[in-house]
Amino acid sequence: MFDYAPAPESRSVVTIRDSYGLFIDGEFVDPTDGGARKTVNPATEEVLAEVAEAGPGDVDRAVAAARAAYQRVWGPMPGRDRAKYLFRIARALAERSRELAVLESLDNGKPIRESRDVDLPLASAHFFYYAGWADKLPYAGFGPDPRPLGVAGQVIPWNFPLLMLAWKIAPALAAGNTVVLKPAETTPLTALLFAEICQQADLPPGVVNIVTGAGATGQAVVGHPDVDKVAFTGSTDVGRQIARAVAGSRKKLTLELGGKAANIVFDDAPIDQAVEGIVNGIFFNQGHVCCAGSRLLVQESIAEPLLESLKRRMARLRVGDPLDKNTDVGAINSAAQLDRIRTLAAAGTDEGAQAWSPPCDLPEQGFWFAPTLFTGVSQAHRIAREEIFGPVLSVLTFRTPDEAIAKANNTPYGLSAGIWSEKGSRILWAADRLRAGVVWANTFNKFDPTSPFGGYQESGYGREGGRHGLEAYLDV
């Protein structure tokens, strides 16, 4: 037996303070009317730090600081000078990537292999990419002199805390806006370390403000009358509330919400790579991915051998300590999320689908859910319709390409989809018909700052990334 000895990444590369204030106008300040909440390591339930909870008065201060910075410094600053700051931040993210990766894994529960090889390189790349746009906005296709919007209120989720921050802040700043960002209540720490990086980069005070807190803080940010632009990534339910809150106001809104992506495997697929893609599609980041390939649609003629391969591959997944460099699947981010996953998985079994998980020893402390596959799933089952946001895959079959497309599109969502086939014409045919913002062919969960990302229908509107991502932050 080849037993990999524990290979933990060192925790000592990052210093976590006992408590954190709010980052307003370039400084960490105590909340004036809010309280504090603890953030825990979901793999151990150990308390990592106490983080301030911003109340309406704090949000007010943050928006005022952002407004002042927008009017006096950041708005009038030439793009080439804004670019210098963004390049500096991008470099700092890359230089301090080990520190940030360890902190992300501690606070979020994701494996260090992913925070190190995916989250951090992409976050840095995002800043590099948009830094390049800052002085080239007249050439982005939005007119000769596109103007920024003003103050952006941004609310981000807990699944990719730092990466989502980068997706939000980089284009906003490149376009000349200032921001008030609220990280998720369970994963605020990398955003607060990012605030230190803003200080290190000498970013003018008020350009980036970070207010920590839960739903009420988010509502205060979104509903603040002096916010010009609202950007949100998270659940469809909250997205609806936000859309209602900003309706009838001058605020511009982009939403990146849930998904229930179909990963379609045709009988002429490259099987071994398709199995990898299925695994990467649903077990990457414990399935806490809005574009996760949570519905596997496999052609009936190859379903049996494909599922055998998939189960054999799932048995190789290493579930456990997120800081171990050999871990493939880490901890579920919170007790609340674990409850939701358990509820939906139980509904799957109740409705008659068959659950299968590889044998794996889950740690006793912390929030864990074994990678799970459901067979015998029909379109009517809850696990085929609702977003589970966990390591749970629903397997459905189809007989003809038309049926595959019909089933794939039979969802109120429309964020992403995957196609597996060695036949180029079939890939193009299917991609044309899938109602999804992103369609991957013979790969899954691939991201790049140059490529726009966003959804159809109840998966939200607006695009992030690429030239398209600038539009959300320009007055066009």
Binding site: D3, A5, E422
Partner: protein, 321 residues
């Protein structure tokens, strides 16, 4: 277990695959394709596994036992081969606990010398044959080459496939040659060198792997070491998938031997991780996985002594042969 990731026919049908050119062709072209980007990505991801402390010590000893210590030069002499055999028996003279390597691999003319030097050691004696490395000779010559090596004492034969015939689509010719060489081997184990650097595509690597296994090869081996592109992780991944699927279809386990270009302990451990997570730990034995290498052994010995003593001793403390 049933056939997994290939549409391989049931056990009793596989014998029929080699019956004629048409059945062979339709079988090989019916294998699922390989997506090159995906295969490279999988190999690269497995390459990030971090193997430390006890796992590293275990892997290094296993890697030493898997080395086919090789010399295939025009300048080989009996003296050189005897020195290599001494090294194979006792790779680290300062440490009696260091295991011997799996085999010594030489040209047929050097087999008698090596056989004498390895007597009683338990180290296997492999010889390349069949007009190595090009394979461009008449079949009769290849068979005579093989018989001579076996007669002189080789218990493993590393043959090369006829890449010219393979690339021309004459699979039945390649198949027939392997069958004939296997027969000429008698009891000796047959390793079939695919020369993957010349096959160029991963689809070809998968087809050639199946062709060699169907024709009776005991091992499939990547390369001769005589062309610019030798063993790579993705190619070895494809071959490991093939032996895994062949076992699922037939119940027979075929070995895999990456050869050429594997020089460091770090590389060797990446290959062992690949074996472990692709074919499974049944393949983590010198009977089913080998490294064709010459310089790798010294790096393994240096890392081994580093783990035992805590310090790097330097290249002067391992023998140059």
């Amino acid at each position: 277990m049933t056939a997994v990731s290939t549409p391989a026919p049931a056990r009793h049908d596989l014998a029929e695959v080699g019956r004629n050119a048409a059945t062979l062709r339709s079988f090989l072209h019916g294998l699922p394709g390989v997506d090159e980007v995906g295969a490279r990505q999988r190999a690269a991801t497995l390459g990030t596994r971090s193997i430390k402390t006890t796992a590293k010590a275990w892997a290094i000893d296993l890697a030493v036992r898997m080395v086919d210590l090789t010399t295939l030069e025009g300048a080989d002499t009996p003296g050189k081969v005897r020195a290599l055999c001494a090294k194979a028996r006792r790779p680290d003279p300062t440490d009696p606990g260091c295991p011997p390597v799996a085999a010594v691999c030489v040209y047929p003319s050097m087999v008698p010398t090596a056989a004498e030097a390895l007597t009683g050691s338990g180290v296997h004696l492999a010889s390349v044959a069949t007009a190595f490395p090009s394979g461009q000779a008449p079949l009769e010559v290849k068979l005579a080459d093989t018989r001579a090596a076996v007669a002189a004492g080789a218990d493993e034969i590393d043959m090369v496939i006829n890449r010219g015939a393979f690339l021309a689509g004459r699979y039945e010719q390649v198949y027939a040659e392997i069958v004939a060489v296997k027969q000429a081997c008698g009891d000796a184990h047959l390793k079939v060198i695919l020369e993957t650097g010349e096959l160029a595509t991963y689809d070809n690597v998968r087809r050639a792997s199946w062709l060699a296994m169907l024709a009776g090869g005991d091992f499939i081996k990547t390369s001769t070491g005589k062309v610019p592109v030798a063993a790579t992780l993705p190619v070895t991944l494809i071959m490991l998938e093939a032996v895994r699927d062949f076992h699922a279809a037939t119940g027979r386990r075929i070995g895999v031997k990456p050869a050429g270009g594997i020089r460091t302990t770090k590389d060797a451990i990446k290959y062992l991780v690949l074996v472990n997570e692709t074919a499974g730990d049944e393949w983590l034995t010198p009977d089913l996985f080998r490294f064709g290498a010459s310089t790798l052994l010294n790096d393994l010995l240096m890392q081994r002594s580093k783990l035992h003593t805590g310090v790097y001793s330097g290249p002067d403390y391992v023998t140059l042969d």
